[in-house]
Amino acid sequence: MGPDRYPLTRAQSLALSGASLLLLLVATTALGPLIAGSGWWWAGAVVAVAVIGGGAALRAVRTPPSLVPPLELVVMLLALTLLFAGGTSLALVIPTAETFAVFGELTEGARRTIEQQSVPAIPVPALVFAITVGVGLIAVFLDLLVQTVRVPALAAIPMLVPVLVPGLFLAEGADAPALVLTAAAYLLLLRVDVRVRRAAELVQEDDRDDAPVVSAPKRAPIVSTMGASLGLAAIGLVAASVIAAATPSVSTSFLVGTGGPATLFARGVSPYVDLGRDLRRPEPVPAFSYVSPEGERPYFTLLTIERLEGQVWSATDRAVDGDNTLGTLPGPDGLDDDVLVEPRPIAVQVDQVRTAWLPVPYPTTEVSGVSGSWFWDQGTLNVRSVDSTTLGQQYRLTHLDVRPDVTQLRSAPVPSPGAVADATRRLPEDVPPIIAETAAAVTASAPTRYDAAVAIQAYLRGSDFEYSESAPVAEGYDGAGFDAIAAFLEQGAGYCVHFASTMAVLAREVGIPSRISIGYTAGTPGDGRVDDQIVIEVDSHDLHAWPELYFEGVGWVPFEPTPGRGSVPDYSRPNAGQTAPGVVPTGPAATPGATGRPEGDPDRALGGPGGTASAGAQAAQLGLIGLAVTLVLLLPAMIRIGVRAARRGGIRSGERPADAAWRELLATAVDLGLPVDPRRTVRGLAAELAERPAFRADPESPPGERVEARAALERVRDAVERERYGRVRGRDAAVDAESVAPAGAEDLERARRSALAADLEASSDALRADAPAVRRVAAVLLPGSLRPSARVAFGRPAPPGE
């Protein structure tokens, strides 16, 4: 790092630390759009202050520079202990084994919450912990770059993290003001650095009269700072565009996600496709079991899809509202007092299903006993978590058994404009004509909206359609887009996904707000009993999708258009009795039949992060982002490798092989942080390098014994001296060549070059062997020889033939 490395005064060092701290704090605000509130920022700020302040203090007491980063990590650990695990620590900051257990839980929780939350995320402790750790690590890295390596321009690299991350989740990226402020703070840091350098130079000039010492180049550092900044800015821009280009479909659902079902169906994979795929799995897996003291057996909703748009239908893009905590939920939309409603308690024990969505019947009014942070969703009353999963949960809920009678439904008025979400009414403009035609034909004779709904259900349950899990796949219309519905209407074969979505769409065609719920049918009574109550087992066979239609005064009521699945609600059979519970339980009869029974593995299907498809997709995204970030971080290393390869090529076949070898050797030394003064001669630099322990003979060995590495270093030195200043190139080879055939001259030249390459290797290895491991890693990841100021030291060959 050589020429521009002056010893700093404490004030100068503090100024640099202050500027880097400011930069970090400002850059962290760029995460603002991702996380609600500001508490997380303060936690990060505390750790950042602790780390950078601690580093400054350590330097003030003359701690060896190589020790500062590790000690900063320790400071960070203490700060984290204080903030997140004070109760388990000694004297508030000394971590104990228990502390690390807490950290482990927080890390796991952070992983889950990152997978499950949408933007802006609720700052649950685990998330704040993750952010704080990240800020702390960035602070250590930043301090390393600014103070230890003394390349403040590279501070842009760690700052890319908070600046770029919002761009991954939000179409508009980080806030413009945050970006501008970050850039300003970065420039301030550079400015401080330049001033510090200038001050250091002035000090040296003042010294010159009394004690002339080798002084530093006057302009190079500033030039190099500017060059490095511009280069990094370019790298940042390229990286941002690469990430943006590489993850077009990722940007709204990765990690935190913006859509409700982002977790379950991340990356836009249709829930229907997943559901269908898992229905086709042969092995059923227990999902959950429940006890209903009053014998009630409702459908359990996981999530509700309201928006029927585009190729991928998703739940309404609605962020988790941090105020909607459990356990009391609001009453359902549109339910009038005159409808018969009975609250039913249910106790649920989740077995193996793992998802961020809690299976609850619609409408549920109360949930208690779940662990983790769970929130209900306005309108759909879906219950989802930001930091935990359903796995192993035991909870009690109270749900309303809504039993409208036909008259009430039939007399339901046209829903008022604000009664339900717009998304539940909307149809895109390019709906295939067959859908409108079918809707018109089916409901032609229906006098009311209710009758139209009943007619659609009857039509789909009629002989024109058959239940088939394989047909849609075979015919290529698996999924839930409008094209799939059109194909389904023509082919007449599909499974619950097709029936449910078709009914929802047909209902919208005739003006009934509709939505699609995904969850489980009522399940099967098992052998177990709790308090004399039969435990009802729900397994992967019961995975299901069904439409819900809105009737003013009654609210959302489920229908069952899928033949052979679930049960048809009484209120949807105007000719039958209507006093039965809203959803009639299906018995074991619903086990797999010829066509009627899905086989599947909903545990995996709706397993959320644990599920195969979505987890795989997410892993792929993570991999992609990780790859992109890794590539950016590895960019300097890759450039360095390229430069090294070019120089090796120069040794093999270039005009000036020794010069290439020498420059590579010096670059290695610079990478390792050894001082390389560009004004020194080859001999002087070689002598300085030869002072490294690896080049010195073992003190035990007899005097005069030469270390091979040193001999190699001297051979490289002699070669470059001869090449640069000697009479002709390759004199020795030429002289020797006189005694052999001309062909031998070429061989000799080749041998000379390969010997040179070997000597270079031996010397470089010795240099590396001396360096501490941290230096070696830094040499690979952040090679200092790429800095313009370093390159002038050895990278500027004079014009040939002068």
Binding site: D209, R679, T681, R683, E721, R724, G726, R727, E802
Partner: protein
């Protein structure tokens, strides 16, 4: 270039490695007399091989004359010594024409300057006129007396010693005359151990008496011939010029290095390279000789001198070292085949 490739194959010259060996032998030989002064001994030998003249400047009694004598004795060549005194006349140096009663002609009696190595002791004690006579010989390498020119034998090297100028009874050498010396060195006081060793050594007799030549005159000439053939690449020449130019532009210097200084710097560097067994000059050779070759020619500004010795000796050395440190070393290529 190809006919002299490697500096070998010419009868009068010597293998470059041999030059190194012989030089080392001379240095070793001199060091039996003057221990702990490797730098001064090497510089002196460098000047001898480069056919320059050497000025040894220091306080009395540190071995200036001893060095000059030891160097002269180590080479089997003619040596003369002139003790400069205020009343020394120019003819005492160059020689005098005397009337031969027998032949009835004026006959030239060569002075002490007719030798391979001339030791001029305390040169600054002589009058300027006498100094000039010697310095003229140094530059011209010939003596003109009564209209006849007598060439001095090669090699011809003057090793002059002088006391610091502020000593009593001295006439300081003018800048123009200092410029004639290729290099100026000072001896410095010996280290304690060396001084003790010297005491033991000289208790009985002068060690100079037992000093034997290790190089013959012919060999010395061959060495000088080889030195002249040492190759100086363009970048190194440019480096020497850069150094000289830097001294002229330095704000602490009133008088910079002359072009003659540049020339002598390169010549000395060639000798230095040859002494290290190298047939080409490195920037390091130039660096090593910058202080002895340049320092005595430079005059600091009075502002720079403030607080320093009147003659600015150590100050000048520091300035030269600083200039050497600041001047970038060329990374040029040698001439192509």
């Amino acid at each position: 270039m190809s006919d002299t490739e490697g500096g070998v194959g010419v009868a009068a010259a010597m293998e470059i490695d041999e030059v190194g060996d012989r030089a080392a032998a001379i240095v070793r030989n001199v060091e039996t007399v003057i221990s702990g002064k490797r730098e001064a001994v090497t510089a002196a030998l460098t000047v001898l091989l480069a056919e320059g003249h050497l000025l040894i400047e220091d306080v009395p009694g540190v071995g200036k004359t001893m060095l000059a004598k030891a160097l002269a004795r180590s080479v089997d060549c003619t040596v003369s010594r002139i003790q400069f005194t205020p009343d020394l006349l120019p003819s005492d140096v160059t020689g005098v024409s005397v009337f031969d009663q027998v032949s009835r002609r004026f006959e030239f009696k060569p002075g002490p300057v007719f030798a391979n190595i001339v030791i001029g002791d305390e040169i600054n004690r002589a009058s300027p006129k006498t100094q000039s006579a010697l310095l003229e010989c140094m530059e011209e390498r010939q003596v003109t007396a009564d209209g006849t020119t007598y060439h001095l034998e090669q090699p011809f090297t003057v090793v002059a010693t002088q006391n610091p100028v502020e000593m009593e009874g001295t006439y300081p050498l003018p800048e123009a005359q200092r410029d004639r010396f290729m290099a100026r060195i000072s001896m410095g006081y010996p280290a304690t151990a060396d001084e003790l060793a010297m005491l033991a050594q000289r208790e009985t007799a002068s060690p100079l008496d037992s000093l034997e030549p290790v190089v013959s005159l012919a060999e010395l000439r061959a060495m000088i011939e080889t030195v002249q053939r040492v190759f100086t690449s363009e970048p190194v020449k440019a480096y020497a010029v850069d150094l000289a130019r830097a001294t002229r532009e330095d704000r602490q210097l009133r008088l910079g290095a002359s072009p003659r200084a540049t020339l002598q710097l390169i010549r000395a560097a060639k000798a230095h390279a040859a002494m290290h067994g190298r047939d080409f000059v490195l920037p390091d050779d130039v660096d090593a000789l910058a202080v002895p070759v340049l320092a005595h020619r430079l005059v600091p500004t009075s502002r720079a001198v403030g607080g320093h010795d009147h003659d600015g000796g150590p100050l000048i050395d520091q300035i030269v070292r600083r200039i050497v440190g600041e001047t970038p070393v060329p990374v040029g290529s040698a001439r192509r085949e």
